[in-house]
């Protein structure tokens, strides 16, 4: 098991964003968490990445307890979060952003890994010396994902990658995410567009007001009355 979360709780200033949820991700698996706004999905990812404190519960990553590991050190453990809004360094060039992705990696193989990312995202190569702030929303999301790959993650966590993108761009993006996970990296995806997420992933958890209310295979979820009614409309 790559990630094993037990009884995880997260609070912000008295509000229980996540209440004692348990879930897991196997190696190579693609898992999505779907749910309405404010269901606690982003808080869960932030807690896994170390950006918010884990109030209760345990997070095992590669059988190692990482509750107390600071956010920056979780990156070299193989956990990588692309946050909501992408987290691009707007005033750095595209290539510098990519170098930041490889920050926790030894320098030796950087060039080769950079070339691999440029091969997936040729557009980034064309504009590598421009400020990242000049990229469109879709291109910034590509950059965020390419940058995340440079940290050689075992688990890639994406928070709302389709947010604010035109439908065509979303399709293109998900095609690329699909190709990325083919390489063997495990995926934990949060996505407003439940249809897209369920089509891409193997398994799904449905969250509501901080709790997991359904855990099913993606296929079963697509046909589940609760999901159809609430999230597939």
């Amino acid at each position: 098991m790559l990630l094993d979360v037990k009884q995880l709780s997260v609070s912000y200033g008295g509000i229980h964003a996540v209440r004692e949820i348990s879930f897991h991700i196997n190696r190579g698996e693609r898992v999505t968490i779907i749910g309405a706004n404010g269901a606690g999905k982003s808080s869960t990812l932030k807690a896994l990445a170390g950006l918010v404190r884990i109030e209760k519960g345990t997070v095992l990553f590669n059988d190692k307890l990482i509750n107390a590991v600071p956010a920056f050190a979780r990156v070299s453990e193989g956990l990588c979060l692309v946050p909501e809004g992408r987290g691009i360094f707007q005033r750095m060039t595209i290539e510098e952003n990519l170098w930041m992705g490889a920050y926790s990696q030894p320098n030796g193989s950087l060039k080769q890994h950079l070339d691999q990312v440029y091969a997936i995202f040729p557009r980034l190569y064309e504009r590598r010396l421009q400020n990242a702030g000049t990229l469109s929303g879709g291109e910034q999301q590509m950059l965020a994902i390419g940058r995340a790959l440079l940290s050689q993650p075992q688990l890639l966590m994406l928070d709302e990658p389709s947010m604010g993108l035109a439908p065509q761009m979303v399709d293109h993006l998900f095609e690329i995410i699909g190709r990325v996970v083919e390489t063997g990296v495990s995926l934990l995806l949060i996505e407003q567009n439940a249809q897209l997420a369920l089509n891409l992933c193997d398994r799904a958890y449905v969250m509501d007001t901080g709790e997991i209310i359904l855990a099913e295979s993606a296929e079963a979820c697509l046909n589940h009355p609760l999901v159809q009614q609430a999230y597939l409309g």
Binding site: P70, S76, P83, I88, F89, Q90, W99, M100, G133
Partner: protein
């Protein structure tokens, strides 16, 4: 016209000292939006240590250039440790506190450093009694001393090195990333606490060099010298656009020149009513004008480059 150019030369010398100190303010502001008002006092500590160490070594029979070189190194090292300590004990515990708390801490720290310095070095003005060099060049009535050239040249070199560090090194990228977002930088694997420490250490090293330059240039040091120097350097940082490296360099040089020209001409303009002892007024006149007409500074804008 020779008065004008003479004052420009003097101003650039002075301004390059301001610029080095302003860089420390602007780097810390860029990375954590804190005005480190104790920064001027780090300059003072650097200056007084260099003064004591060089006097001691010269007394031991070392040659002046050798004694000075060692003194600069000692003072840079001590200030680096001091900067690291200041961040660790005074600012880090307040990382998530409201902005006012670290600001008040900074002022308290400034007073603390001054009082410690007063205990160690006393409150009187300490002379630097050794003549550095008498070499100077004259060109159409404008005199440039070797010391002025040394100060200006070393400042430019340090600014160039800092620029290179920030823009072309892994640490520099981490600094810029942290300045843009601490959380995003952590998601890249950057130990942001360490990067902030390193920023303080680098700023303090520049402050130490500036302190040594100041004490050599004016041949005197005192436990309060960091206050005015710090305030002027802060003005320079604001003038260039706080948080902006180029701005701090430009602002420092510009402020130095404005101050020198002001000191040179104030007597003529006011028919002797004010003398050059009013030179300090110009820095603050500049500060007020900047805050009124260009509050973001000359190079500052909403998309300013921080660190």
């Amino acid at each position: 016209m020779s008065t004008f150019w003479q004052q420009v030369v003097n101003g650039l010398t002075l301004g390059s000292i301001y610029a080095l100190v302003a860089l420390g303010y602007t780097m810390v502001y860029g990375i954590m939006e804190l005005i480190n008002f104790a920064h001027g006092d780090v300059v003072m500590v650097g200056a007084l240590i260099a003064l004591s160490v060089s006097e001691l070594l010269i007394h031991q029979g070392l040659s002046l250039p050798l004694a000075l070189s060692i003194a600069i190194m000692v003072s840079v090292l001590v200030c680096m440790v001091l900067g690291w300590t200041i961040e660790k004990i005074a600012y880090r515990p307040l990382r998530h506190a409201p902005k006012l708390a670290p600001l008040i801490t900074a002022i308290g720290l400034s007073l603390l450093l001054q009082q410690i310095a007063a205990l160690i070095w006393g409150k009187s003005y300490l002379p630097f009694s050794h003549t550095l060099t008498t070499t100077s060049w004259s060109w159409h009535g404008v005199v440039i001393s070797a010391l002025q050239l040394d100060i200006f040249g070393l400042s430019l070199l340090l600014m160039f090195l800092l620029w290179h560090l920030v823009h072309h090194s892994k640490l520099g990228r981490a600094m810029r990333a942290t300045a843009q977002s601490v959380a995003f930088a952590q998601l890249m694997g950057v130990n942001t606490d360490r990067v902030i420490s390193q920023t303080f250490v680098i700023g303090s090293a520049l402050a130490a060099v500036a302190g040594v330059m100041d004490v050599m240039y004016y041949a005197v040091g005192n436990y309060t010298m960091g206050f005015l120097l710090g305030l002027k350097a802060f003005t320079a940082a604001v003038l260039g656009g706080i948080g902006n490296l180029k701005g701090a360099m430009l602002g420092g040089l510009l402020l130095g020149v404005v101050e020198a020209l002001g000191a040179g001409y104030i007597g003529d303009i006011t028919h002797g009513f004010f003398g050059s002892n009013y030179k300090d007024v110009f820095a603050f006149l500049v500060l007020i004008l900047v805050l009124i007409f260009k509050p973001n500074g000359l190079l500052g804008s909403n998309t300013q480059e921080k660190v």
